[in-house]
Symmetry: C2
Subunit: 144 residues, 2 copies
Amino acid sequence: MTSTPPWSLHEQLARDAATIGDLSLSRVLLMNDANYPWLVVVPRRAGAVEILDLGEAEQTQLMGEIAFLARALKETTGCDKLNIAAIGNVVPQLHIHIVARNRNDAAWPRPVWGAVPPRAYEPAAQRRLVEALQRQLAGILLRP
Amino acid sequence: MTSTPPWSLHEQLARDAATIGDLSLSRVLLMNDANYPWLVVVPRRAGAVEILDLGEAEQTQLMGEIAFLARALKETTGCDKLNIAAIGNVVPQLHIHIVARNRNDAAWPRPVWGAVPPRAYEPAAQRRLVEALQRQLAGILLRP
């Protein structure tokens, strides 16, 4: 009998993104790409690769967290469109992208993946956006 | 006071995809691209552009329909990975892509959008796949 190791964030997501905080199911990250405000939502369930690997109640919880985060991102950024996707062809750990798109952004109207090279944030700009999102999410972020 | 026109399928989706059938919230289509088995799920709600435009109960229903369809697509095709996305930068009508990916498909590991030109199905092959999916979905497809 093998035991499942505890959940931990995939090293590539840890390298590419800053932490915003934890919701009851998911860790919420901000991708370090100043081309677009871009959240990554990672359910803290060891071994999950597909949304199908979550139970039905967790799938409902995930949809609720996605909707809450999408609204917070839209209100914080005033974006024209949201792009929401679970792809995971390269990083297998289940994660959902929520990207704030604008008609004048670097990739519009193409999807963001592989469209243009990532552009790292200025540290102060990244910190301001993380803090603005933390304020929008204050009601549902778990306290550390 | 203006009244909302009734829902109808966006003409570009109607042109690019074949109908599989209706679930209680969504119409289910098969994209006419033989590079990958590719479902498009369209909630029949007039004017909806974002998942946020659905009410909370409809968001939960949509997640249930996505999960059911994703499992049916995986069982029908034996794919390596599912890609699930709501993008809508070009066709504004809310629609969710569920794409069956394989490590040897035409775009792997890139996302499918814009990766390679679509390749139309042979009519008999398209009909076989539509019918196989209809059999998998028999328990939840609404009768015409």
